[in-house]
């Protein structure tokens, strides 16, 4: 089913699902694909990627050479249904080294996502001046587990766009044995495309919710998601660590760290989401 990354000429399913059409200055339409929803409710990182695609178009139309999301934040008001959505982008400021934009995704006039983005041009040769986050240890790709499922629809669509593998030490949930540590580690690679800053916005919310590993049930609605893209990822699989630090009063935080194939930290994300336990 999945195309070979080296030979595919088809549009990747992630690119197809996040495509936007400009209808007027700062006004776009997108199309929520049902395969990127959980029980009809779209993944938060998927919606953020749609907003960022529209923002990148708007900043280019404003004449700025700031193609990459550097900071992307979004607050989720209500979940749109699969189908057409409207995206409004207001350019707040075009600066020398970065531009800032406000985005809103709505459906039938109902606001769904409120977003503020900072776009810039990431330096392909940037090297850390200081870092203290070592790449999380994950066994080689072949020794990690694929084929896990949270819901059949979303996983089916993702299978056409990308492949995820979990470190068996963290994948107990999918064998009915959550570890109780609230962490998933593993790999992610796209079919037919290499990772880029836009894709990282999705990957930052693209692993199963860390609370599954604590025994949570049902949908995990993201309230807010903040992603910092720190570097242009090299081609190849991404190494991902997603974990929670505090579950309290029906909310949990979730940190996501992403390294590229050269072991560089390319994105850092945090979200606050709602959660239920049996």
């Amino acid at each position: 089913m999945a195309a070979d990354p080296a030979t595919s000429t088809e549009e990747n399913a992630f690119d197809a699902a996040t495509a936007v059409q400009r209808s007027a200055e700062g006004r776009y339409t997108g199309d929520i694909h049902p395969g990127w929803t959980h029980g009809g409710k779209p993944n938060g990182g998927y919606l953020l990627a749609i907003l960022a695609r529209a923002a990148a178009d708007a900043v280019a139309a404003a004449g700025a050479d700031h193609p990459h999301p550097l900071v992307a934040t979004s607050t989720y008001l209500s979940a749109p249904d699969p189908g057409i959505v409207d995206v409004e982008i207001d350019v707040l400021r075009v600066g020398r080294s970065a531009s800032q934009l406000r985005g809103r995704l709505s459906q039938d006039g109902k606001p769904c996502v409120e977003s503020v983005l900072t776009l810039a041009r990431l330096d392909p040769d940037a090297e850390p001046r200081f870092h203290d986050v070592e790449p999380v240890p994950v066994p080689p790709w072949e020794e990690c587990e694929g084929g896990f499922r949270t819901t059949p629809e979303v996983e089916g669509a993702m299978d056409g766009a990308l492949e995820r593998r979990l470190d068996p030490a963290t994948s107990g949930f999918f064998r009915g044995e959550p570890t109780g540590r609230g962490e998933f580690r593993g790999w992610l690679r796209f079919h037919g495309r290499e990772p880029d800053p836009l894709a990282l916005l999705f990957v930052a919310d693209g692993f199963p919710p860390a609370t599954l590993d604590l025994g949570s049930t049902g949908w995990v609605p993201t309230l807010e998601l903040t992603v910092y893209v720190r570097a242009l990822p090299e081609p190849g699989p991404l190494r991902v660590r997603q974990y929670t630090r505090l579950v309290q009063q029906g909310f949990f935080d979730e940190v996501c760290e992403i390294w590229d194939s050269r072991d560089r930290l390319v994105a850092q994300a945090t979200q606050l989401a709602g959660v239920r336990f049996p």
Copy 2:
């Protein structure tokens, strides 16, 4: 100079500096106090607290019992000068358990800060269902160092509002010997008021920039700040850890974790800021 916390009846200088006046529905004015600026540029957490005070008023006016900031994000476009600022609050959604608002702080018509906030009512008796962040070790208050200075103006004003003490193991910068670890740990308490969710928004950006401990120079402009308030803090001093994980291409991320006097994690924050080195 500083009032005794137990007996003061004067308004705390933080409350005075963050006060807002409603001029129309969703429209407020605030006053940037020069003592809360670094070389004339206001602290990012200070501006976020002004926005959150206006948001709390607006959500109360909308009839919702959501007095506490649960999530507060802000993007900094340009630094206002000391003096009058305008705050616009748009209520995006009033829900059963939380309300979401958009805020903008501007001066003389120029947009300065774009913010999205989620307000709710925090449960005073909430206990963690899961947590894996132990309170950072800090020596007792008396053994920590006060009186450190980044810039005289801002520290002078803060001295009237609050007191900060640094763990001597992390305060080498102020003795001309940065440790190179990019971390400050210590205590913070207010004079004449106890900590509350609003104050935590300031505290989340209230320690010296972690990059000073790496030898950075000059102003550290925050691009974006995200704060999650996780619990109502108990009275007493706050324990603070502020650290960076990656400095690259002139940007650094900074995480801030805050515990209350009962050793509960009460706030988690992350920011992306610009930085220069000699």
